[in-house]
Amino acid sequence: MASLVIAAHDGAALDPATLNAATAAAAFGGDIDVLVAGGGTAPVAGQAAKIAGVARVRHADDAAYDHLLAEAVAPLVVALAGAYSEILFPANTTGKNLAPRVAALLDVAQISDITEVVSADTFVRPIYAGNAMATVRSRDAIKVITVRGTAFAAAALDGDAAIEPVSAGEGQALSKFLRQELSKSERPELTSARVVVSGGRGMQSSENFHLVEQIADRLGAAVGASRAAVDAGYRPNDFQVGQTGKVVAPELYVAVGISGAIQHLAGMKDSKVIVAINKDEEAPMVQIADYGLVDDLFKALPALAEALDKAGIKPR
C-alpha cells in the first residue's frame, strides 16, 4: 500500500525536514503522497510536488489548518488514513506534536524518531538518550512514525507530482494560535547546516557568544547551544542541541565550553567530525572529539578566528 508524508511548513515554505521523512517513506516501496494543510499554502504544495518520488500532493487549502494545530489537523489525517499503510512525520516539533494525536485517534502505537526502516513493520530507534538502539516491530495495521532527519538523506527536488485538493469535515476548534516569537537569523538552519558551532556554560554570558558567532561566520555555520547555555539565557530555546532539543549531524560540529553530558551528546554524536574546545582535558566532549583543543576558550576563539583568516577562510 501507499505511504503518506505529513509536510511541515510555516505557511510559506516547506520545512526541509519533510524531505528526510520522504526518503524514509521511499524505503517502504509503495506510492508516496504528501499532505500539505493550511490556508494559502499553494506555494508549499508546489514545493512538495517537486519532492522526488512523490506521486500526489494532497492539498487541504483551508485556514482551519493554519499553524498546523494538532486539534484541527489530526482529524484530517485520520480521515485520509484508510488509504495508507504508513503515515510519516518529520521528528521536529510539528511532527512530535501531531503524530501521537493521530496515532491515538487511530488506536495504533506511534514509533518515535526512527533511524532505520528494517522492513515494512520493523524499525530502529534510539532510547535512553541514544545510549541504546532498539529494534521494534509494530503489530498495528497503520504505522504512525516520526522520522529522525539526521538518519535519512534529504530527498531531491526534481519531481513533478500532481496536486489534488482534499477537504475533511469541520475539525475541533479546541485551540487557537495566538502569537509567536521566532528567532531571526541570517545563518543556516541548525538541523540542516553543514557546520555547527555550539557554545555552553563556559561562554559565561550572552555577550560572549559573539566569539562563537565569529567562528560560525567564517565557516558558514549555524550556531547551537547546550541546555545550560539556554537555561542561563545566553541563547533562546530553539538553539538547544540534545536529547530533548534538536538533533544535528553536520559534517563538522565544534563544541565550545560544553562538557559533553549524555543529554548533549545525544543530539550531536553522529556528526562526522567533532571538535572540542575546552579547558578541562577530562571533559567527556574532549574524550569523544576527533580534535580536542585543551585551552581557555577566551584565548582560543579569537586565535582561531585569526588562524582561519590567515588560511583564507574569511567571514561570509
Binding site: R101, N131, M133, T135, L178, N237, T244, L252, Y291, A303
Partner: protein
C-alpha cells in the same frame, strides 16, 4: 480546580545506561531510579498553581511496578496532595498509559492534566498528545509558560523556530518543557508529612483496559561507537587538520 500530574519512575538521568549482554534491554538492576525530570517540572507547576490559588488539589499518578510508590512519595513531599498508583509488572507503552490516564480522568474530573513532554527512558514524547486525543481535549505541548485565564489557558510552547503561544479551552492536557520552572527540593518536614498523605492503589485490571504492548522489542544494541580522543596543540594545527586531514573546511 483539580490538577492531575503524571510521575513516571525512570532510570536517573545521571546514570550511563548499559545494554544487557543478551540484547533484551538495558541493565536496570542496582541502578538508581528517579522521577522523570520533566515530571518534576509538572509537579512544580501544579504546586505553583495551588500556591496562586488557581488549583485546589494535586493528584500525582504513577503507573508501573510497586516501587512507583516511591516516585509518588517524592511528588507528595514536593507538595502534591494525594497519589494514585496504577500497579502492574507488565511493560506499559504510551498508548496504554494514555488509556489508563483517560480512565482516571473520568473518575477524577480534573480541570488540567500536566505530563512531562518526554520520558527520558523510552524518549517517546507521546503520552500527553495521545491522552488529549482520547479525551477530545486540547493539548499544549512543550510548555515554557502556562497562564490560566478566565476562559481557559494560554500556553507558550518551545517550538523549532522559537516560541509559540496557543489559547486552549479547558479542561486540557499540558506537557512540560525544560524552561517552565525550576522544581523545588522537598524539605525534611514535608518529607515527613508526605508519609501520611494517601496513595490509592489500583490494579491495572480493575480499569478494564487492554494494555498489551503494540510494539514488540526485538533487540536492543549499543549505538555505533566513535574513535575520538585525538588532541591538537594549538589553533594552527586545528585549522590544518580540519582542512587537510578531515577535509571539512
Amino acid at each position: 480546580m483539580k490538577v492531575l500530574v503524571g510521575v513516571k519512575r525512570v532510570v536517573d538521568y545521571n546514570v550511563k545506561v548499559r545494554v544487557r549482554a543478551d540484547g533484551t534491554g538495558v541493565e536496570t538492576t542496582n541502578v538508581k531510579m528517579s522521577m522523570n525530570p520533566f515530571d518534576e517540572i509538572a509537579v512544580e507547576e501544579a504546586i505553583r498553581m495551588k500556591e496562586a490559588g488557581t488549583a485546589d488539589e494535586i493528584v500525582a499518578v504513577s503507573m508501573g511496578v510497586r516501587q512507583c510508590q516511591e516516585t509518588i512519595r517524592t511528588a507528595l513531599a514536593m507538595g502534591a496532595d494525594r497519589g494514585i498508583h496504577v500497579m502492574t509488572d507488565e511493560e506499559l507503552q504510551p498508548l496504554a498509559v494514555a488509556k489508563l490516564f483517560k480512565a482516571l480522568v473520568e473518575r477524577e474530573s480534573p480541570g488540567l492534566v500536566i505530563l512531562g513532554k518526554q520520558a527520558i527512558d523510552d524518549d517517546s514524547n507521546q503520552t500527553g498528545q495521545m491522552l488529549a486525543a482520547l479525551l477530545g481535549w486540547p493539548q499544549g505541548t512543550f510548555a515554557s509558560d502556562i497562564v490560566l485565564t478566565g476562559e481557559g489557558a494560554e500556553v507558550t510552547r518551545e517550538v523549532d523556530g522559537g516560541l509559540e503561544t496557543v489559547g486552549l479551552a479547558v479542561p486540557a492536557v499540558v506537557t512540560t518543557d525544560l524552561r517552565l520552572n525550576e522544581p523545588r527540593y522537598a524539605s525534611l518536614p514535608n518529607i515527613m508529612k508526605a508519609k501520611k498523605k494517601p496513595i490509592d492503589q489500583i490494579a491495572v485490571d480493575e480499569l478494564g483496559i487492554d494494555v498489551a504492548p503494540r510494539l514488540e522489542t526485538l533487540k536492543v544494541e549499543d549505538p555505533p561507537g566513535r574513535a575520538g580522543g585525538k588532541r591538537v596543540a594549538d589553533v594552527e594545527e586545528l585549522v590544518d587538520k580540519l582542512r587537510n586531514e578531515a577535509g571539512v573546511i
